[in-house]
Symmetry: C2
Subunit: 265 residues, 2 copies
């Protein structure tokens, strides 16, 4: 069965896109069929995967939203909305939002047509082993829609106080959704990111998160690693840039953990 995971955090710049791109690439390299949904109008995931939002002729978020939940129910395939990527087994439903009007309209549709993403993702069930959704940095209509469509949420938590301060409202939204539109929503785990063992407050924050969120933290901790940023600048996942860098190996162990949990026959 396909596992649908939303990567979400209200805090900006915590490594949501970096996690989606590199986790997806490693899962695909481990022979899983992976679909990434770039659900952030910012479009960074699409750019990282070589598909710049303003160059896309068909499909993507815009066409999916224009279609609407009801019409999506009648469709048979996800193909009209997705693109191949540089990695076999890895496809992308890109974000092709290029104006503030479109971005505002998308948020309005997320309120008025709440089944939209779920119906789109349902088209891909069975064809993929994992569907990863990159959500925008807020707790507004679009992230809520991503959580409502997912089986579980993976929360990147940057080793910074500001990021920790935004966790209570996210956990509150998860509880609300579990009582309403997504009773099966689970927390896949909390992924500590940009950990820097040479900085005292980064070590203290990791210890604080371990005791605060007992049991929810993944074993994998993503270290601060400049090669992750360099790979992004080269528009490729780190596995195609510097496969054995510390950041890349940490994403590999996260991918192996998810593969063993959901695909071990």
């Amino acid at each position: 069965k396909t596992r649908i995971i939303a990567i979400s955090s209200q805090k900006g710049g915590v490594g949501k896109t970096t996690t989606v791109v590199n986790l997806a690439a490693w899962l695909a390299l481990l022979d899983n069929r992976v679909l990434v949904v770039d659900f952030d109008p910012q479009g960074s995931t699409s750019r990282c995967m070589g598909l710049s939002p303003n160059k896309l002729t068909h499909g993507g978020l815009l066409e999916m939203f224009r279609c609407g939940a009801l019409e999506l129910l009648k469709q048979e395939q996800i193909e009209p909305y997705i693109y191949k990527t540089m990695i076999k087994n890895l496809h992308l439903l890109p974000s092709n939002i290029t104006s503030t009007e479109d971005e505002i309209w998308l948020s309005q549709q997320a309120v008025e047509d709440p089944e939209l993403l779920k119906n789109a993702v349902d088209l891909a069930i069975g064809q993929f082993d994992f569907i990863l959704i990159d959500a925008p940095p807020s707790l507004s209509a679009l992230p809520r829609m991503a959580l409502a469509a997912a089986d579980s949420i993976l929360v990147p938590l940057q080793c910074e106080e500001m990021a920790l301060g935004t966790m209570p409202r996210l956990l509150g939204l998860i509880r609300d959704l579990q009582k309403s539109s997504n009773r099966w929503l689970q927390i896949e785990g909390i992924l500590m990111t940009m950990f820097d063992p040479s900085i005292g407050y980064s070590r203290r924050l990791l210890e604080q998160a371990k005791s605060h969120f007992q049991g929810l933290l993944f074993d994998a901790v993503i270290p601060r690693d400049p090669r992750l940023s360099e790979a992004i600048a080269a528009h490729r996942p780190v596995v195609l840039y510097d496969m054995n860098s510390p950041g890349s190996l940490a994403y590999r162990s996260l991918a192996q953990h998810l593969q063993q949990k959901y695909r071990a026959e």
Copy 2:
């Protein structure tokens, strides 16, 4: 005359809140009367300034939005919406958004009642030398409203490829607003943040930005400085935590630049 500056970037985690909190604190220390508007439902600026969103009894964004643009026009004072902070000369209009429903409603109001922030800020003109607005990480209704109410925009640009990739759409929105609701909107400047001279791609990116955005970059460049994060963890501006740290001194020189530009008599 009061100078109204919106600190905005579509990219998350680039240092918007860190810039607002520390620039405001230094401007206040240099004897300017400063109002900070936390226009991000995330509420990080409010938490940094010691006013946690869920502990606020009156005022703030919520009451301001409930009042509406028309009613704000009839008011005389900004006092009912703002709070004192730990620094003399520095006041805060906090973000007191504590649920997804409120956050969605705020974005809807930003579309239906576009003069709201402008009319609120107008109440404070003359009483403050600088008004700094912390905008959320997107190019949706709330950031558009912040830009429409401002005299100028200060854009933090993290020394990272992902941040650079989001600049074209922001510059496009600025151009659109200059032709419509805010003909006088200027670019105050681009502030390079989290610069790390020990990392090659960080140096390359700074050079790239200097040639790409000629003349728009401030002389002040904010270095990566763990003391900035530690100050946030201590819920105080860096000037009250480690006044002579590299990050703090860079924000002081930015404050001095703005003071000389707008208040030199």
